[in-house]
Chain length 208, copies 2
């Protein structure tokens, strides 16, 4: 199933299935029969980005900028995390940073050989720099960040070897619409809240 | 006392005083009297870089690449850390990252307004990105990293506003000789150890 196909499929999946990170094909014809195309691909980029989106929704629920990440090795999620800057009062607590550290705990090594990190938004310079240090083989992100992204949006630290010591494969735009939609909804609500408060107090809560 | 003066002074201070981060002026004339120039400046860049060097020596003792950092606010050290990549099995556990997180714990906020971070080596892209997120007013480093530094050595993320959201004052070269010497000694020993082992096993231990 192509990425485009998965994205189209996603738009037709029931919300509760999407919540589980599962997308159904438009050609699905249950209960009369299931075409080969309707198989749920549990190893696809869309599936794992769905898992990262689940993390992002946890951030949303906690009034954090909704960004989530998972680290995958041999088609298994070995770490998952959501942006917790406000929760932990730590500006470095981006989803990618927490997921990388959790993955390193899982593999008991700082080298994430053979791993892929999925994140709902293009990594910032801090996170891209951290990814290079941890050496996963691949980075997959949802929506690009043309202003400050460091996976090609603004600069590309993930493929700057030399001088950096490692280089990752990069795939962008996986479930982009869902990832963008979640962020847009969050900031729309935050602006509305700020407007209601009639001042700038609420503004500081929304960052990343 | 000028920074140049302090650096000169440093070369003439007894080792045990340097260990405490204290440098004496060359014009010191104890026990017959102390000139005004001999006052120990406990608010100077050299003093705080000495504190960062103390942290770096802890890294050295733990067989970590010897880099240390402290965060200072209102002339007080509010956080200190040394590189612990191997100790914590976490490639993101650079001295700056740990010091920033510790400082945020101290001030109970992710914003390090009014703070200065001192680090013995120019920050890498990950650490420079993290510093920008935490918003200290100033970054002071010891030795430059022309290959991969992100405070002007290779790129300059600390002064890339826009597109990034914050900009720091940057001062490099404070106690540069001491900072370089510590790193050179460490890598010289590591190479010798690797040679003795007759293979590449030891090589993986030396990174950052």
């Amino acid at each position: 199933m192509t990425r485009e196909g998965r994205n189209r499929a996603s738009a037709q999946s029931p919300a509760w299935l999407e919540e589980l990170g599962i997308w159904l094909s438009p050609s699905l014809c249950l209960p009369w029969g299931v075409s080969e195309d309707a198989m749920i691909d549990l190893t696809s980029d869309a599936f794992f980005m769905g898992q990262a989106l689940r993390e992002a929704r946890k951030a949303y629920a906690a009034e954090e900028v909704p960004i989530g990440a998972v680290v995958v090795r041999e088609s298994q999620v070995i770490a998952r995390a959501w942006n917790q800057v406000e929760t932990l009062r730590d500006a470095t607590a981006h989803a990618e940073m927490l997921a990388l550290t959790a993955a390193q705990n899982t593999v008991e090594d700082w080298r994430l050989d053979g791993c892929t990190i999925y994140v709902t938004k293009e990594p910032c310079p801090m996170c891209a720099g951290a990814i290079v240090h941890c050496r996963p083989v691949r980075v997959v992100y949802g929506c690009p960040d043309l202003k400050g992204g460091a996976a090609g949006g603004w600069i590309n630290l993930l493929q700057a070897n030399p001088p950096l010591n490692h280089q990752c494969e990069v795939t962008g735009g996986v479930l982009e619409d869902e990832c963008v939609g979640l962020l847009q909804g969050f900031f729309r609500e935050a602006r509305a809240r700020k407007g209601e408060e009639g001042g700038s107090q609420g503004g500081n809560r929304v960052r990343r």
